[in-house]
């Protein structure tokens, strides 16, 4: 059997995670889109922490002698999924940053040539022309 103290500690920890995620969303520090996986993680951990019979039967089926290890294993699995998801998000952000920088460079060149052309037509000194 999973010790009661472990169940209580795990329940508190998953509740804190859930509330922290919701509070971050409320303060607009975390977008709903990226909060959903964390919320799912917290809810699954919460269920496993509260429902002690489930942990013990999963542990029995897998031949794991120490029940709480199942909570750790499933928690670790979810963290891996979240990390993998973030790796794809970071990759997409990298691509976008590259595109943005390139577009800014092209725009800057267009503005400079427009300024140069405008300077010529009004016969103003084009001192910052390169």
């Amino acid at each position: 059997m999973t010790p009661v103290a472990v169940s209580i500690a795990a329940t508190v920890a998953s509740l804190v995670l859930l509330l922290a995620v919701l509070e971050l969303v409320r303060r607009r520090r975390l977008r709903e889109k990226y909060a959903l996986l964390w919320i799912l993680t917290a809810i699954v951990l919460l269920i496993l922490s509260v429902w002690r019979g489930a942990v013990d039967s999963i542990a029995g089926a897998l031949g794991v002698s120490y029940g709480p290890a199942v909570i750790f294993a499933i928690g670790a699995l979810f963290v891996l999924v979240v990390l993998l998801h973030y790796s794809t998000v970071i990759s997409a952000l990298t691509d976008r940053t590259v595109t943005l920088a390139q577009d800014v460079a092209l725009l800057e060149q267009r503005v400079e040539s427009l300024e140069a052309a405008a300077g010529e037509t009004t016969d103003e000194p084009t001192s910052n022309q390169q």
């Binding site: 409320r26 607009r28 977008r31 959903l36 919320i39 595109t99």
Partner: protein
């Protein structure tokens, strides 16, 4: 009163030009800006040829980010009224006058053209109708005011609404959250019955595989939105 029509467009090259031309006919005093959300087809060229101002995003931001670009343009360029029109042709420009009317009259800050107040016959799939109904109930509950169509993007706002949406506009699936957001910031909302057409081209941004994610994400956003503090809009700065 300077009016701007905002048309978000993602691969709508087949229909966007007609929409722009129809707006020029129906609302000749209204400027038109097409926000090309990283289309891979000729959307931007088609819109430009039809006489619209085109804002071309360097990559696809999604409907929320695209529409908000239009509101930022409206704010920066001093427009008094902004009205969103879909690029796929489902919002008939001939109906724009009805949506703008409450804004012009000063009786509302945000006016939404809706399909379910008895005008026209709009056919939709059963699951879609259920989803629309569900969110209409939820939003009605949150803002304590009856709304019938939370998925319509046929919407006009005054300068106050432009200021709000230029700094805070929901991403991903914005239509449902927009009404709750506007209500939270003290905008007076009104729904106007309009006729809508079947989309000429393109497909709904809400596809079947995404509907579960859509329902969960929007519900979460609506519930958490109730506990959020209002944002500071550029209008607050102007009044100071």
């Amino acid at each position: 009163m300077r009016c701007l029509a905002i048309i978000p467009a993602f691969n709508e090259g087949a229909s966007v030009a007609d929409v722009v031309r129809e707006i020029h006919v129906a609302q000749p005093d209204c400027d038109v800006v097409v926000v090309d959300d990283g289309s891979r087809d000729a959307t931007a060229a088609a819109a430009r040829n039809a006489g619209a101002t085109v804002l071309q995003l360097p990559f696809n931001l999604g409907i929320g980010g695209a529409v908000q670009t239009g509101y930022k343009y409206a704010w920066t360029n001093g427009y008094d009224i902004a009205i969103q029109v879909d690029a796929d042709g489902q919002h008939p420009p001939s109906e724009m006058g009805k949506v703008i009317a409450p804004i012009l009259a000063g009786t509302a800050d945000m006016s939404t053209g809706t399909r379910f107040r008895g005008v026209g016959d709009f056919k939709s799939s059963a699951s879609r109708r259920i989803g629309i109904e569900l969110f209409a109930r939820l939003v009605s509950l949150i803002i304590r005011e009856q709304v019938t169509d939370t998925t319509s993007g046929f919407r006009a706002v005054n300068r106050k609404g432009i200021a709000l949406f230029s700094v805070d506009y929901p991403q991903d699936y914005p239509e449902v959250e927009t009404q709750a957001l506007a209500h939270k910031h003290g905008l007076r909302l009104v729904e106007v019955p309009v006729e809508m057409r079947q989309r000429q081209a393109g497909e709904s941004s809400i596809r079947l595989w995404g509907s579960t994610y859509y329902v969960i994400k929007v519900t979460l956003a609506l519930v958490i939105g109730m506990f959020r503090s209002p944002v500071t809009t550029p209008e607050d700065g102007e009044q100071r």
